[in-house]
Amino acid sequence: MSELSISGNQVQPQQQPTSTIPEPFRVTTNAPQMSDVNLTPGRRKLQKWLGRVLRIVITDGRVLVGFFNCTDRDANIVLSMCAEYLVEGQEPRLLGNVMVAKKHIVSLNIDEPTPSSSLLAQ
């Protein structure tokens, strides 16, 4: 049963398409023990954003703000402790864990200290 374990990084893919690089199936995480120096740049970015606060504008105009918890290749996103704003600035409704599918995402903002942090994104 060990090949089905949750931690995933030990798992060998059952069938590897011969064309792609035989890279082991993996989970990118921000757990301190798992720091991997060989991460691709994209993975490194995601690793950095994990656990930060993410703001998602979705197709019907609502704004969801929550801790960035998980994503996959299709950019489906799971947020935790999420707040839902019908109108930003007004009283939000607290939703807990939510999953936003890629097709509903309009824009993504991360709460991040940058030199230009005074510029609030729309």
């Binding site: 993996r26 606060v53 290749r73 607290l94 939510v98 993504l108 994104a121």
Partner: protein, 776 residues
Amino acid sequence: MERESSSNNEQDEWSASECGFNDPEVQRVMRGGSAAEDITQYPIHGWVDVTQEFHEACAELLPGELAQDMLFGLFEAMSAIEIMDPKMDVGMGFDKFDLPPPSFEAAVAMGAIKLDALEPAELIGIFDALFACLVSWLEGNSMDQVLFTCLYLHAPSQIQDKALRVFCIAVRNLIVVIKNIIILAAVNEEEDFQLYGNSALLAAEKAQPATIAGQLKDVEDELVRKCKKLPPAEDQNLMAVVHRLRFMRHLFQAIYQVELMASAESAEEAVNEIYKNLNVASELLPLIKRTIERGTQPVEGSEAPNPMGFSPRIHDRSQPPTFPRSIKIRERPASYQFLEEMVARFKYACKVIRHKDYYSALVSSSWLSSGILFYLSCLLQNFFIEYSRKSGHCILSRSVLQNLFSSSIRVAHGKQSMKRFLRHSVQAFNSPPVLNLKHPVASDPKVQQHLETFFRYCINMNTFNQFIRLCGFNRARQRDKLAHLIENFDPLQVDAVRLDSLMNQMANERAMEGNELHATALKHSTHFSTWVLYNCFRAMLIYLMSGFELELYAVHEFLYIYWYPYEFLVGFLVSALTRTENILLAQEEYAEHQSKMQVNGGGGGAGGKSRKAAKPKKNKKQQRPYRQEIIYYHALLSLCGGMYKAMGALTKDGRVRLPMSKFDNEEIRYNRRFAPFVPLTSPPPVSYVEFKSIRDHMMLCSVEELYSMAAKHFDQARNVLESIQNPEQEILDLLQIARTNFVVMNVLARGHQKEVKRQPEFDFSKHSYFPIMKLK
């Protein structure tokens, strides 16, 4: 070994805090952030648009690869609401330019709802919509999302129209009463019923259930007087309003009295009163159903159940986020259908409770009539089981029966109700002389002490109590709880066997002392263990067979599911009942013998006495009410045998779809199916290996032989069932199943459809335990 070491490694890598099972609140604290972080205080630094970057980064991931927070686990994944999913996302479809849904005050101010001088058609529309909401609430929806979308319910005292005001007050009180009944019965589960709703709305005006009937009656009378003044053609609509008010009054009274029964003095009177109200209510329903179209109808495409007075989304944003978003309120005709069936079920419950009381009063006086009570207590238990099948998802019906039952035994037996009830149950089952208060042995202090201990133990174990209560739960939960209940029977069995052997031991002692009367009364008694076993077997049978109703079994599993009752359970039941019957007959003979001795001893002068001695013979037939049940179980035995052999034949014939051997492990499935029986010492668990050898032995026969063996079983079942006089519907259904399957088996035995090996259809619509097999 290898597995162990690998799991150790995993533990090294992942400490508990990283497995993601803690709740988010704790997680944040553990991460070292400030406690109880408030998401609304973000952004701290400022939003940076990363849309493009983010998508590009994601594209680097492999299919199936996740980038996940260290605290993210299966629990978080499973509990997430999917945004923009019409079933889950309450916030969906809101437009920021939308007006908030109107509240009561706003609607009044806008003139959207009328408070006075409502037309009869409007009243009918609102009343019907409210009944529909009530039904939808009973079906498990949150009351905020159904009932309290009606703005009139928010502040009934502000309504000037008397009919509407009183009706709304009645609905509010009904809500409170129903809630109490359901809480008291405590057989609800989260999937049946939402107990919690916006209690602030209910609290605004105090509940006074005792005054409701009077208020409704007043309005009715007023409207009836008004009707009389109208020309005959125009009073129809108003009369329809009156009928609804009257229906509400009687329904309310019936339900309210059920609640009151918990503290009533006389169960009989209360039940009669309830029954009367239900009768009137059920007579009014056809009239109401005929006038549904006289009321205002809901607007096509609108979520509101009525054009006026409802604000469907008023509470959406105050609901917990995991609540379903869209509620489908029942249509009006279907709602009245539901109420009609519910009232019929209440009536049925009242009837049986009434009979039970009557007979239990009868029985305590003489043990000869105990047969009748046994029959009734069987009936009662069967009734509970049957009732639970019928009322399946109606939580109120199930709760009402539980309340009626518990208050009626409380009233019948006083304080120590459960102990008395259990005593009666044993007495009714096989009437051990030690429980017969008239028998001298019953006053033996030692006997009394042992009995006391045993019954106290029974009560502490709560098993029998649970068995009845369990029937109140919905079918899926019932099965779940039965699995635990069966386990509890084991210590009871041990205790019952001990009690029986103590009695036998005492019998020997008494015999040594020369007290023959006491010795015979105590001897050879397996009364208590038989009683416990019988109940245990029944629980096991229900557990196993309910899997069919819940559609848990795959067709290829039917074989061992039917095999177990065929080979063991039903046979045990028959032998337990037969043993009981023999004990009873022996006791009766002994009593006869005794009375003859007395007659002979007292001289021939007493002609009256000899007539008395002859009497029990006449009663012999009454003494065997188990006959019916034994016959029933014989039929069940044959049906199980038939199904078992039929499944064997079909499997061997290649007509049963089997799981791919790669993914299959029959032993695991077998063990899981019978897992709740494993803790029992009696009957001893049957291992998979034993089952397999029995089946392999059967499978040695040819397919044709197997088919004809199955046919023979069905034929036997048919014969047995046909011998039952005045059969109930269930017997007739079983008969039809036996007949049809007999024909199908014969057809297959003769090699019909030999070329096409298609799996027959198993149609459980006639009976939940046994299917009719259909060849396509």
